[in-house]
């Protein structure tokens, strides 16, 4: 049997090749993980289904909330009443959990139209409209409360209902999924 040598031999070219081969295998193996992970991402068809959608606002009565989908996500289009707009504007912004003025959440000159994503920012349930302490939305799952600007006012939701990208193409038409390019 060969004796085990106790002294450390000088690095040889063979050691270098050994380490280089191992390193190449490790990098190669790690690289191979990427196609598998990437395949889990939203695919091209799902992204293509996210083309902008046009919404005609004329049939939406004052006080009404309409639900529609863009990119598979629920969106609320709310035609706010004068009291609802006033309630949203008469808020001390600095007292909010996610401070944002109502004017920053609607388009200038279109304060009666509030367009927000329709899933609670806590865990994604659909909040119920015109309910809760501020008559905005109330989430039945874990009790988050939103005001008439879609801002979080209570419960576990960490942020306001986000605003999807949209633009007014006329006074009664919006396109969701497209920001103004002016």
């Amino acid at each position: 049997m060969a004796e085990t040598t106790t002294h450390v031999a000088e690095p040889t070219r063979r050691d270098f090749l050994y380490i280089a081969t191992g390193a190449a295998a490790a990098v190669g193996g790690a690289t191979l993980v990427w196609p598998f992970v990437s395949s889990l991402a939203p695919d091209a068809a799902t992204k293509a289904a996210g083309a902008p959608v046009e919404v005609d606002l004329t049939p939406i009565a004052e006080g009404q909330i309409v639900k529609l989908f863009w990119r598979g996500k629920l969106i609320f289009v709310r035609h706010r009443t004068a009291e609802e707009i006033k309630a949203a504007e008469d808020v001390n912004v600095s007292s909010l959990r996610d401070p944002q003025a109502d004017s920053a959440r609607v388009k200038p000159g279109h304060a009666q139209w509030l367009i927000v994503y329709g899933n609670c920012t806590h865990l994604g349930c659909v909040p119920l409209g015109q309910q809760g302490e501020y008559h905005g939305w109330f989430c039945p799952c874990h009790g988050s409360v939103f005001d008439t600007s879609g801002r979080v006012r209570g419960g576990p939701a960490p942020i306001n209902l986000p605003i999807p990208p949209y633009t007014f193409t006329s006074d009664t038409k919006i396109v969701i999924g497209q920001e103004a390019t002016a």
Partner: protein, 425 residues
Amino acid sequence: MSQHSTTYVPKSAFGRWFESRLPIAGLVHSSFIAFPVPRNLTYFWTFGAILAFMLVSQIVTGVFLAMYYTPNAAMAFQSVEHIMRDVNYGWLLRYLHANGASMFFVAVYIHIFRNFYYGSYKAPREVLYILGVIIFLLMMATAFMGYVLPWGQMSFWGATVITNLFSAIPVVGDTIVSYLWGGYSVGNPTLNRFFSLHYLLPFMIVGVVALHIWALHVPGQNNPTGIPIKSGKDAVPFTPYATIKDIFAVVVFMLFFAYWVFYMPNYLGHADNYIPANPSVTPSHIVPEWYFLPFYAILRAIPDKLGGVIAMGAAIVIWCFMPWLDTSKVRSTAYRPLYKQFFWVFVAVCVVLGWLGSRPAEGWYVIASQICTVYYFAHFLVVLPVLGFVERPLPLPNSILESVMAAKGGAGIPAGANAEPQSKG
């Protein structure tokens, strides 16, 4: 325990030829026939066999359901109704599978609390125990994804709420969630991949169960006294003693299982799940299946999204540290008078948390959930470490045999059961 090992000697020439090439018969013999089992095991030790039975039952019923189920968002709900109405015994397969999940969790919770009570998690069984925690986590993932497949309202919103837990992760949370969904919301890609994983994970459970049993057979089973087998008289051979007892327990458990399947098959489900998934309406009161309720209550007790998710995860991960958090030298709670009381308080807290998880998150329910959550963690972080130092345990018996003799008043042990296992046929 080397005095117990009986070597397997094949009787036929073919047996000897085969055994020298693949010694599987010898492995079965040493693991499930001659394997020494403490003679004082109670029926609480039959839940491993019951769980093995439930795993096989779930896989068999699941494979047959998959022959008719369609993992497509437009067809899944109808394909389940098709199984219920048109497929021969489809209703039986589905009710066995759906109630089987609950029965699986009934058995695993008894198994887990038996382990907590008798200190089975302590040295030298830490690895065995942590493998068990891993099996439990895999079971939770499998059960959750299975519940999504019928694509009813509870399926859809359960999937939405649970996948959204990952959105609490700072910075990358939203990207992770869209990778889980394969889209911008729970949809067809989500259903498809959940079906794929729901079929895969049970076989991963089988693999970890094999390791769990392997790790069990190194130190052998714990027992109600918590003291190890010291001589052959402390043990009986696995076959016939444990084999027959396990089979009997499995049959009794099957009666319990059958009662649910045949008399109240929808009791543990939710009526809302017979409404097809609707992404624009959330059911007014969404709750997870009963076996997730204590963890759900912990999630909701924390008034912060990320904090709630971390607390819920920690509630299970903390189990992995029990072998080191428990400082007591005595395994079995039967000899720990003080800990025995804390153990039952802990059981009660877990049950109350489960009940609170089924209540709406409002008013005093939230406060009660917070108190119970604090106690839950205090049990692991305060009670377990401190009691080991302050508690005076009762005197332990010298051997398993002595404890059995004491219980029987020193008489009445059948002569056969008193013999050394290897001396029996």
